[in-house]
Amino acid sequence: MAFVELEGVTRSIDLPDGGRLDILKGVDLSVEIGDHVSIVGRSGSGKSTLLNLLGLVDTPTSGRLEFDGTPLDKLSGGERDRRRGRDVGFIFQQFNLLPGRTALENVMTPLLYAEGTQFWTRQKLASEMLDRVGLGGRLKSTPDQLSGGEQQRVAIARALVRGPRLILADEPTGALDVETGATVMQLLDAAAEQAGAALITITHDPSVASLARRHYRLDNGVLHRIEATSVQHLAETGATL
C-alpha cells in the first residue's frame, strides 16, 4: 500500500499582475515504505514545491493527495503538523540547523514535539543518533564549529531521530564538495534502508540520483518517470540536469 500517493496533483499560484503560474501540472506519484525515489530537474521546475506537498508543508491546488491512507483534505492543520513531525524527516540543502544550539540540541528539536517515551528520553535518543552518524564526540559543538559535512550529518540525525517513515531530502549534497556529498549520501541511503523508511531525494546531481531505485524528472511542472540507465549514463558522463 502506498504511503504517499499523488494523483493529478496541481499547484498554482496567483501572480500580482492577475495572472496564474502553474508550478505542478497533474503529477501522479506513489511512494511506498522502503522506496528510494529520486526526482531530478532544473531549477524552477517545481521540485521543492513537490517536496513540500509530499511533506504536508503545502497543499495542492487540485488533485488527490493521500498520506498514509488518509486524504489530505481530511487532515486539519494541527493534524498535518503532528503527522509531519511523526512520519516525515526533512533534510535541507542548507542544513537549516538552529544557530546557537549544539548538535545535541538540534537533534533533540523534533523530539520536543513528540509524545510519551520519545519526549521524555529525548536527550538519550538524540545522543545515540548522533553517535550513529559518527558525531558522538561533537555533541556540544554548535553549527559554526562544524564542517559542512558534519552539519549535514547532524541534519540527517535530526531527520531520523523520531523514526520517520518518509525522509525528504532536498538537494542534500548541494552545499557539499563531491567527496563529502558522496559520503553523506551513503549515510542517508543506509539510514533510510535500516529504518525501513521511504527516501525521496530531490537533486540536480545525476550521481546522487543514481543511488535511488526509481527515478523521475520534473520538466516545467510535469513529472516523467525515467529509466535508471539514463541517470546512470548522465552520472558517468558528469553531466548536470
Partner: protein, 430 residues
Amino acid sequence: MTLERQPETEKASGAETRPSIGARLWASFVGGLAEAWAEIRVHRTQVLLSLIGVGIAVTALTGVVAAGAIATQASTEGYERGGGRPATLYMYAYNVETGESPKKDAMDAAFAAAMERYGITYTSRTSFGGLSVQFPDGVMMIQAMGIDQPYASMHRIGMLEGSWFTARDADRLAPAIVISEETWQRLGSPALSTHPTVQIVLPAGTVDAVVVGITPAMSTDGSYLLAYLLNDDYETFVPPDPIYPQPPNYEAWVPVDISDELMTLIQRDIAGELGSNFQVDVSRQDYLAYVTEDPLLIPKVVVTGIAVLVMVLGALGLLNIALVSVKHRIREIGIRRAFGATAGRVFFSVLMESVVATFVAGLVGVLLAIVLIKNPITEGIIAAGVQDIPGFPIEAALIGLGSATLVGALAGLIPALVAVRVKVIDAIRY
C-alpha cells in the same frame, strides 16, 4: 560511511499506543517551556537588556507595597500610642447644671463597677501633670503621666530597656517609675542594672523613684522629657492643679465588634451610678473611629504610578526586542514547524519566552526589593519606633511577580501572533 547499528528510536506507526491526553498536554507544556528557556539562554544578552526595565519596575512596585505596609504599621502604631488600640472607649462625666466633673472617688467607683460588670480588664485612668526632677544639671519640670498598669498594652508602649510596671510595683517601698529615653539620657544614661533612681523634688523634700524601664524616644531633639507613674504614686507626687484641677481620662480597651453595644451599656451604667445630675459621654478615640482613608495613600499612589510607568516602558522595550527577535527567527520557526511544531505550539513557545523571562526578572526584582526594604538601614528609616515590624508582605511579592508575568504575557502576545502567521514554506526558504 554507513550507520553502525539499527536505530532504537520508537517507531511511530499507526499501531503505536498514544499517551493519554493529560500526558500529551503535560509533555507539550514542558516541551514549550524547555523551548522557551533554550531560546532565552541562546539570546541571553538581548533578553537581559530588555528585562532591566521590567526588573527595576518590579523592584519599585514590590518595594512600594512592602514599604507601604511597614509605614502603615508605623503610622498605625503612632495612632495607637496616642488614642489607644481599637476600640478604646473614653468616658467623661459632668454636672449638667454646674459643668463640674464628678468627685474623683465617685467616678472611680462607677468606672470600676462598670468595667467589672462587663469583664473588661484593660482599663486605665490617665492623668497628665508636671513632675519636678533633679537632673545632674539642675531641677527641671518634666511631663508626668499617671496611669494604671494595663496602659502600656492599651497604647502599645514598647520598652527600650527594662520592663513596664507589674502588679508587684505597687508594693514597693520606693515608687517605681518608667521614663522616656530622652529623660534617661538627660540623667546621664545610667545602666538599668545599677538600679538608677530619679530624684523627685517635692515641697517637703525629695523622693527617689526606682527606674524600672525606659520607653523609646518620641522626639528627635531629645526635648520630650516624660515619666510614667502608677496612679497611687502619681497622686502622691503630682498634686492637682489648684486652679484648674483636671479629672483623669477613663479609658477601656474592648473588642471592636462589640464596642458600640458596650458604649451604650457603659454610658447607662455610669450615669446610673452618678445620678441624674450628671451627663455621661462614652466615645471612641482610637484611630479607626475617625481615620477613614489611608494617610499614606497619596505617596503610595505616586510611587505606584511611577512603577507602573516604568513597567509599561519595560514592557514596550520587551515587546520591541521580542518582535525584532521573531523577525530574525522566521527561518528557525519554519524549521520547527517542519519538524512537527503546531501553530499552537509555536504560539505557546514564543509567548512563554516572554513570560518565563519576565517571571525570572520579577523574581530577581522581588529579591532585590526584599534586600532593599528589609536591610537594617532602610528599616531604621521607615520603621523607626515600630514595635511590631511586619515581615516582608507576601502580597507585595505576589503583586511584583504577578505584574511581571502579566507584562510578559502581554508583551509576548504580539510576537507570538506574528510567529503563528509565519508560513512554513516561506520560512524554510527565508
